[in-house]
């Protein structure tokens, strides 16, 4: 499970980055490191660290996580940031990482909690 990106279904909402301005950052494919933690009765993952493409959305993580946890489609799965709120599923990891990544042991990591029941209102 070193590269989740290959497995994640491509999101059609994320189109290849178009050049907005000459000064824009080169569209180099960036990766985001995610650390997952279960809440409540949600099963623990063997591998808690995942690497995803920055253009992927939270919805694609939700899909992959369902597979890893063997959750049927109609079972609910909730994803939280900092045990505080559930970000919009169409948010990209680029935006999530820019807003909510934390630095632990030098590397920037996006910590996401998952639950099979609503945990924070």
């Amino acid at each position: 499970m070193d590269s989740l990106a290959n497995e994640a279904a491509p999101e059609s909402t994320t189109s290849p980055e178009t050049i907005i301005a000459p000064t824009a950052v080169a569209p180099k494919l960036k990766k985001v490191t995610i650390k997952l933690k279960n809440i409540g009765d949600a099963p623990v993952l063997k591998n808690k660290k995942l690497i995803v493409k920055s253009t992927d959305t939270l919805a694609s993580l939700s899909k992959v996580l369902r597979k890893l946890l063997n959750l049927p489609l109609n079972d609910s799965l909730f994803l939280y940031i900092d045990n505080a709120f559930a970000p919009s599923l169409d948010c990209t990891f680029e935006s999530l990482s820019r807003c909510y990544s934390v630095r632990s042991t030098g590397d920037e990591v996006l910590e996401i909690q998952y639950s099979i029941t609503p945990a924070y209102g």
Binding site: T13, T14, T55, F85, R98, S101, G121
Partner: protein, 287 residues
């Protein structure tokens, strides 16, 4: 907060047309026309459109869980404020009608049907996210259990007075503290929205403008630290240079159907031009 500005923003509406393409022996029903507040959601507006379609004498009623919605040939997000969808559809110049196609075919994978309960839950999480950015969740944590549902009710009932009472609690913290970061989403055509950590002020204490904030979110400023995108935008000491980049002059910042002057202080935009979800939604248009 400015009562008059907030009230004007609340009262703005957009013309919307729903058409049903169901085929069948009766042909398609007449389109359903309506004016919708910019702050509301398609998830809330759809039932009314469907009941208009279902007023016909015969034929099976169209159920909301069996349809999907399209704008300009693409599946539409039912949990994005209608005003943002309208501004993205590029209809501003001639006050055109937002045309929503209601389809009964197999929905594409990218479409998500959102019912009123789901959009309520999503809305509340977005308000929480906004508060996390503004106050590290201080305000929402101290709110009473029924206050968030009350904010939602003000939307479903189109009740400005109720909204005004609730939104002041979220926007004007009692302790008078500044927002840590400003909840801002920027929409560039055919791209997912962008969001970043944006502070109210520059390191030297001067107020950040909405134009500078948008440049920071889009990482257009040459001084923004592209190599470390998670670093706070306040780190870019020469942020004022962003307003002089050639790109930002042709760029238009649209919200609530109006051109927001780039020099508008970010704090004013956040307090007065946010949608009820407490985010400022800026759609980028070019001349």
């Amino acid at each position: 907060m400015d009562y008059e500005v907030s009230r004007k923003v609340w009262e703005s509406q957009v013309p919307v047309q729903f058409t049903l393409q169901a085929g069948g022996p009766l042909g398609d029903p007449l389109p359903f026309y309506t004016m919708l507040p910019r702050f509301t959601y398609l998830a809330l507006a759809l039932p009314k459109a469907l009941s208009s379609f279902n007023r016909r004498d015969s034929g099976d009623p169209i159920l909301s869980e069996k349809v999907w919605l399209e704008v300009n040939g693409s599946p539409v997000k039912m949990y994005v404020p209608i005003g943002v969808i309208y501004d993205q559809a590029n209809l501003l110049e001639n006050d055109a009608i937002l045309e929503i196609s209601v389809k009964t075919t197999q929905p594409p994978e990218t479409f998500q049907m959102v019912d009123p309960d789901m959009v309520k839950a999503m809305f509340m999480q977005t308000v929480k996210e906004a508060d996390y950015l503004k106050t590290k969740s201080d305000i929402t944590n101290s709110m009473m259990v029924d206050e968030m549902p009350q904010l939602w009710r003000s939307i479903t009932n189109n009740n400005f007075d109720e909204y005004w009472t609730m939104v002041q609690k979220l926007m004007d913290p009692k302790d008078g503290k500044d927002f840590t970061h400003v909840p801002l989403r920027v929409y560039v055509k055919n791209q997912p929205f962008k969001q970043a950590l944006i502070t109210l002020k520059h390191p030297n204490g001067s107020l950040r403008t909405i134009g500078e904030a948008v440049s920071d979110v889009l990482q257009l400023s040459p001084s923004s630290e592209a190599s470390t995108p998670t670093s706070e935008s306040s780190a870019s000491s020469g942020a004022t240079t962003s307003s002089t980049s050639p790109n930002s002059e042709e760029r238009r910042l649209i919200s609530h159907g109006i051109d927001i002057p780039a020099h508008t202080p970010l704090i004013f935009a956040s307090k007065n031009l946010s949608y009820p979800d407490n985010f400022v939604h800026i759609v980028i248009a070019s001349n």
